[in-house]
Amino acid sequence: MSSSDILLNAENLVFAYNGHNVVDGVSLSLRAGEFTAVAGPNGSGKSTLLRLLAGLLKPQSGAVSILGRPSENLAGAARAGTMGVLPSEPEIIYRFSVLETVLMGKMLRASWWRDPSAEDMAAAEQALKRVGMLAFAARPLTALSSGERQRVFIAQALCQRPRLLLLDEPTSHLDLRHSLETMRLLKELSREGLAVAAVLHDLNSIAAHCDAALLMRSGRPYACGPADSVLSSENIAEVFGVKAQPGVDGGFSFLLPH
């Protein structure tokens, strides 16, 4: 990978809340075509890091640059057109349909009097097709399972035509099958050229799908690099305080905590 593939670069980020450093000196690069996992115990600052990368929070020191430009110069429409971000739990109050929700990713910058054009509709339908949810287009979001909603929000983000996709715990509310499908989809999207980064908990799933991983402990980066070397049983013992037995079965390597 050359440095030109780096879409987002974070240097030495520090974010303190109530006098306590929640994120403390994290540096990270997200590359086109790579799926990066952010892992670590609860309260280790993973979600805060994601919000710093997404520009929602401003770091007290350090800087995030996106496509080589300081991220604070990237506002509103330009920011949304560069990265799509999924918070951990979407809030749903009104009965918007799946299609209406996905169109929000496309229409937010359109004049208010303009109805979605045929092209806008085609883009939304294509995004829904990409995540396998086209058949649900007319359903209200409220009638979907969490796994299905997740896919709709990924489609919404794809409608923004982003270069980066950031997700906070995309699999935490999903059962085994939906979780696996989401991980596969994210990996495929990264292979199509997106830089994908997600806060994830399942270490085996990270090892199976992610290219790179950042392991955090108390806001500090503990290890960063290729996913399989970061998730060594030594690192896991040190960060989670759990012994994990590495094993190989049928070509799949796995970790068995015990």
Partner: protein, 314 residues
């Protein structure tokens, strides 16, 4: 699409029926052209403008507060506008008039913003605390209005109207003022209707979709305050139309705020024209303030929504 056209047709037919009721019903059965033209027509038109402002205001508030139980009456917006209006009268500013409108808008914005910030904690606003805080601000403003009225007995009756809610029998100046405020308020809200849609997914998600939630909220509150000022200066604090209009219309036309703003305005116009007609007839020759009738129907409606929708989506 055909289905939607039919719903539009029904809505417009209802509004026209309310308009006819407004013009032709009254304490006397006589159809004197002079009364119809010089009294009923302007009064019905004023009811339509104030009602439309209430419907639009309710739509904006339910959108920006992300709360389907919000409305200008419950949130203290109307009471704030009423307080501003009474202060303006006490200062000798006439209704309609620029200074009067300015103070009413200021009162509406101040009350709403105050209720909102009191209900907010840790970046979140729970629907229950929002309603509670709004009701407190509302009753405080109501008490201040009464205090002003009692302290200065001269304009007591016209000031009481701001509490009870009743459509004025205003001249052309009042009509022009109400129309201008309605249009100005809509001009604030209409361009951010898509933003309000996105905001329903949460402020964080709205930010990621490219919005600036703080600017959006400020603009929505300003627009809602202008609309509340338009409604209150024309008809006092009439409750529940702002709650019911977007709520019922959402069930028929869906939650998209672009359409909802329009149909809520139409529904609000029809509702206040019908209420005003009823206000003049139910206890004729005496007139019941329209706000009293609105509360008689609206408060049970609010309780019903509270009970029914506790765990549902809207």
């Amino acid at each position: 699409m055909k289905n939607v056209k039919f719903k539009y047709f029904l809505l417009c037919a209802g509004v026209l029926a309310a308009c006819a009721a407004g013009i032709f019903s009254g304490p006397t059965a006589s159809l004197d052209a002079d009364i119809l033209l010089r009294l009923r027509l302007p009064r019905t038109a004023l009811a339509a403008l104030a009602g439309a402002a209430l419907g639009a205001c309710g739509c904006a508030m339910q959108g920006v507060l992300r709360n389907p139980l919000a409305d200008p009456y419950i949130m203290g917006t109307s009471a704030g506008a009423g307080l501003g209006a009474v202060i303006a009268l006490a200062l000798g500013l006439a209704n309609p008039g620029l200074g009067f409108y300015l103070l009413a808008c200021l009162g509406a914005f101040g009350a709403t913003a105050f209720a909102y910030f009191m209900a907010r904690s840790g970046g979140r606003t729970s629907p229950a605390s929002l309603v509670l805080s709004g009701v407190m601000v509302s009753s405080f403003c109501g008490a201040l209005i009464l205090f002003f009225v009692l302290a200065r007995q001269r304009e007591s009756f016209s000031a009481l109207i701001f509490i009870m809610g009743s459509v004025n029998e205003g001249g052309p100046a009042q009509l022009i003022g109400a129309a201008a405020l309605l249009l100005l308020g809509l001009a604030f809200i209409a361009p951010i209707t898509r933003g309000l849609d996105a905001l329903s997914l949460g402020e964080e998600k709205a930010f990621y979709l490219g919005l600036e939630p703080e600017k959006l909220k400020l603009r929505a509150f300003l627009g809602a305050s202008i609309l509340a000022c338009g409604a209150v200066s024309a008809a006092g604090t009439v409750g529940f139309i702002g709650l019911a209009a977007p709520h019922l219309m959402r069930a028929f036309f869906g939650p998209g705020n672009r359409r909802l703003l329009l149909v809520s305005s139409l529904f609000g116009a029809g509702a206040l024209m019908a209420l005003d007609a009823a206000a003049r007839t139910v206890l004729a020759p005496a007139e019941v303030p329209a706000g009293v009738l609105a509360a008689l129907g609206g408060a049970p409606f609010f309780l019903y929504l509270l009970k029914r929708n506790r765990h549902e989506f809207f």
